[in-house]
């Protein structure tokens, strides 16, 4: 009942077209050829999560990436000492992308904090699609490099006074 109401209220464009609009605003996809863009817009599926639902489970090799359309999610890590809250993702964030490129047993869990709507891409779809548009490969690598560098830069800027122990461990962008 609810869902049909929702649907009727939405604009008359199909979900595929809505996805297309979203991708156009995303850094990585915005510059793609229209043909490639269509295929990706088609392959992305929408998924809803309720507060507490897992997007990503620590130790799983789920091979998925998420683009958050609405809502927020928290990142946590479970170890011998229990669960540590590590941060938050929100609308417009793209996460899990590294898992699209290769096997990645998750080091963190990501849980929906509010009601969450995501675009989801799987490794299988992504690799098959990339095979069809090989011109994207350098773009994928470039984006990854940029993101790793940005990540560390932000880490250094925001936590300039890291503890001595931690400071020794920085340098992931040197890999």
């Amino acid at each position: 009942m609810n869902s049909s109401m929702e649907r009727r209220q939405q604009s008359e464009s199909s979900e595929f077209q809505q996805n297309l609009e979203e991708l156009r605003q995303m850094d990585f996809f915005s510059a793609l050829s229209i043909e490639a863009l269509k295929v990706f817009a088609y392959l992305f599926t929408r998924e809803k999560f309720k507060p507490g639902d897992h997007l990503i489970h620590q130790e799983d090799n789920d091979g998925k990436a998420f683009y958050i359309l609405s809502g927020t999610a928290v990142v946590v890590r479970q170890d011998e000492r229990g669960e540590t809250n590590l941060g938050e993702f929100g609308e417009g964030d793209f996460l899990g992308g590294l898992a699209l490129l290769g096997d990645m047993r998750r080091l963190f869990s990501v849980r929906a904090h509010t009601d969450l709507l995501c675009l989801v891409m799987t490794r299988e779809k992504f690799t098959k699609a990339i095979e069809q548009f090989p011109e994207l490969v350098p773009r994928v690598m470039e984006t990854m490099v940029k993101r790793v560098r940005l990540w560390e830069k932000r880490l250094l800027l925001e936590h300039g006074g890291l503890c001595d122990q931690c400071r020794k461990k920085v340098g992931v962008s040197l890999i």
């Binding site: 199909s14 295929v39 809803k48 047993r105």
Partner: protein, 841 residues
Amino acid sequence: MGKVKPPVVNRSLWSWILTSNLKLQALLLVVIVIAVFTRVLPLEMQKRIVNEAIRFGELELLFRYCGLYLAAVVLAVSLKYLINVLQNLIGETVLADMRKELYHHILTLPLNFFRKTQPGLVVSSLVTELATAGNFVGMAIAVPVTSVLTLLAFAAFLLWLNPLLAVISLSIYPLVLFLVPMVQRRANLANKERVDVTRTLSGKIGEAITGIHEIHGNGSYRIENRKYDKMVEALRKVRVSWNLYKFGVKVLNNFFNNLSPFLIFIVGGYLAIKGRLDLGALVAFISAQEKLYEPWKELIEFYQVYQDATVRYSRTMEYFDTQPEHTLEPEDREPYELAGSIEVKDLSFVAEGGIQLLDNINLTLKPGEQLALVGFSGSGKSTLAQCIGQLYRYTSGHVLLGGKEVKDLSKKDVIYNTGFVSQTPFTFEGTIRENLLYSCAAVVNGGETLEVEAMPSLDDMIETLQQTGIFVDVLRFGLNTILLYDEHQELAAKLVRVRENFRRDFGEELADYVEFFDEDEYLYHSNVAVNLTFGSANKENYTVEKLPENDYFRQFTDEADLTRPLLTLGADLCRQTVDILGNLPPENVFFEQSPIGPHELEDYKELAKRIAKKRLHQLTSQDQTSLLRLALRFTPGIHKMVRMPSIFEEFILESRALFKEKISEDDPKAITFYQTSEYIYSKTILDNILFGKTKTVNPHAEEKINQSIIQVLIEEDLLETIVEIGMEFQVGSKGDRLSGGQRQKLAIARIFLKAPGVLIMDEATSALDNNSQSRIQGLLDSRWKGKSTLIAVVHRLDIIKGYDKIAVMKAGRIGEIGTYEELMNRKGMLYELIYGKKAAV
């Protein structure tokens, strides 16, 4: 069973005649003697008809002799048929026995033997090569006796007719007897070679089929074709020469047989002209002489079959003439019940070619202790486990199991006391249940039947399924079963109740994941066809794929004014999908969210071009059907390229009621409507409980749904019933309908169920995901520790902390052995294995 029987491979071909059904053989002999008589009788009649009846014009005699002649011919034919029947019975029985005994023998041969023996070779030996031998045993008494007796009878008859002519016509046979074996010897040589080449060829085929994924993976078709073609050519050559020699024997025989009438014509004709032989006698003689040919030909053919059978039989038996390394069953005693202690002393194992796989191994385990064998691959850890499990026969030193030398134990003693889970466990064709009980059945009663009191109970089985983590899989198999109306009505009624409870208890909670069937709502996760018919088709022509061609349905859409909106929807889907997917290859991953299948894309691309040029009503009826098909497949929850206009939904809902009304009248059996109170027999148990469609492929949502269903099933006390149904799931040949992990879990489960005193696990959890692996390790630590002695070959080092002893192997020796702490403190080989070489420095 019999006393000391010689192994089947050492039996001679002739010995099979003695063990064949001797009563049948005797009956056969009697029949043959009568048959010989019936063959001679017509000849005598022939002579009398000419000499007595015709010559003296005695009509009565003519009728009497002709009557006797006819009777003799009919009798001869019937007896010939009877002889064939008896031969066939004897031959096939012996063949079946040979096949059974040889197969039983082959299965006991040591594993080493099968390293160099391809499965194809065993198949061809058992199926093809033995067939002639069976054939031969069927003939072995009957044919030579018939032929020789017939020959003797005719010879005597000829001698009685005319001694001179008889001696002349018989004179050729000694010559044939001298020449034929000379040619046959060559044929035999060729035949031997043929058997060998066929054997290699079968092996080659077996190898290629087993490794077909590698051939596809490497695209090495040509390499394999070349190897195979070469062997086929070799086979062709040897077969040609074999056949030529065989024909040679026939030609030689024919020639001499045709030579003898020539002699009779010359001599007999001369005598008749001179008046020293009456015409009737000459005619009779020539007839009788012609009849020599038949038995003689049979005798020669028998000789050839004998030669062929001997070659094939001996060649086959020679190949498998290896003895099992261990006796199968203990004589004169029950199998030992051994304590689970293991003592390995100075153990060495040298494989063929002098390769030392194990070198002077020493270790001891008290009953219930757990040992992990670690080390690089090739370090001998698997070999050690296999020697302890009696799978390989060690070449020197001792392995004592409960104080008894493993080498001297019978196979039965070993399976009574140990359980072995191999690295690549094998699942046999049959049900989950049969595979689960495989090890227990082998111990309990040799697997004769599964229904024995000593067998594990259903509760035991379910517990084991849960422990090894395959329970959920089996439950899923059960839930995916389609029940039969005739057998399961009671269960179906209960499941309808489960459906109601499920909806009541979890309907709201799961509303985001499941779209429940509701007669008044449009279903976004079901296709248009289901939304229209709102039921499940019982007849083939009411399934989604057949509806577009179903005249009744087409008439309905016309009447309900649905055809045009459906065609418009179909055209929209066709245009959009082709636009997105038009240039992609037919790979499934691209088509999961498309109403067009990967192999239909080309057709719909063409159709899209036609739609662009024409109006819908101008399209051919075939094109319209194609569009209608897309429209009926359209599932808004999956196919996102088109948005369904809301007016269309209402349209369909209206038509749903109309359709139900109409079809209930016209063809009430065609469709089972989705009604909360009705079980749908064409759908799985899961679909029936869910009574709706899942909206997401998210595994965690599925998990939630699963948990809810399990809970409802438990409340209704049906969980075990469903698991029991799931255990009847057919796993397919080699278990190919199971995943690698499921097969491995099943293999572990069947050993856990047997609960042996000594568990040997050779990387038994290597195909499992982390959770399952940890679960089983946890089980070994808690449930089996102290109860069963465990030897585990382990390649993942994060699970070995709980073991009592860890042995690090290197190059066939134990480098170090001790507890985890001891070895880690020592910072030796284990430390190096775990932290890498650098860290150890």
